[in-house]
Symmetry: C2
Subunit: 75 residues, 2 copies
């Protein structure tokens, strides 16, 4: 069912850094369940959570999230 409107690359970048979901959750300051849900597109984070994820992973929001209507067709 995932979210059709916004794609993200959180998992890819998290794995590139060798972090677990639990580690990312702790650094971002939200629960691991929320990380799972966001990675898999079960719901869309707020701008605050997005900025914290972006900061934790060290990449820009634009590298992390995109509107599917107009960007890459993957995920």
């Amino acid at each position: 069912m995932s979210h059709e409107r916004v794609g993200n690359r959180i998992r890819e970048i998290r794995r590139r850094l060798g972090w677990t979901q639990a580690q990312l959750a702790e650094r971002v300051g939200i629960s691991r369940v929320s990380i799972v849900a966001i990675e898999r597109g079960h719901f869309l984070p707020t701008i605050e959570t997005s900025l914290r994820i972006s900061r934790a992973l060290g990449v820009s929001i634009e590298e992390l999230f995109w509107l599917k209507e107009e960007k890459k067709e993957d995920d």
Copy 2:
């Protein structure tokens, strides 16, 4: 009471473009009441709404929103 955690420059950039709240709302695809609330920091938009605002205004998310804990001290 506004949101203390995230600052934004939506109003400034909207005005620079000479747009009304109603015009921005229409282009973004949300209600004018929500634009008011987001501009004034009454609540935080989702990443989807943020990306649409960013696209509508033609500026990056990072130019539009920032975590107050670590960026500029102005509202």
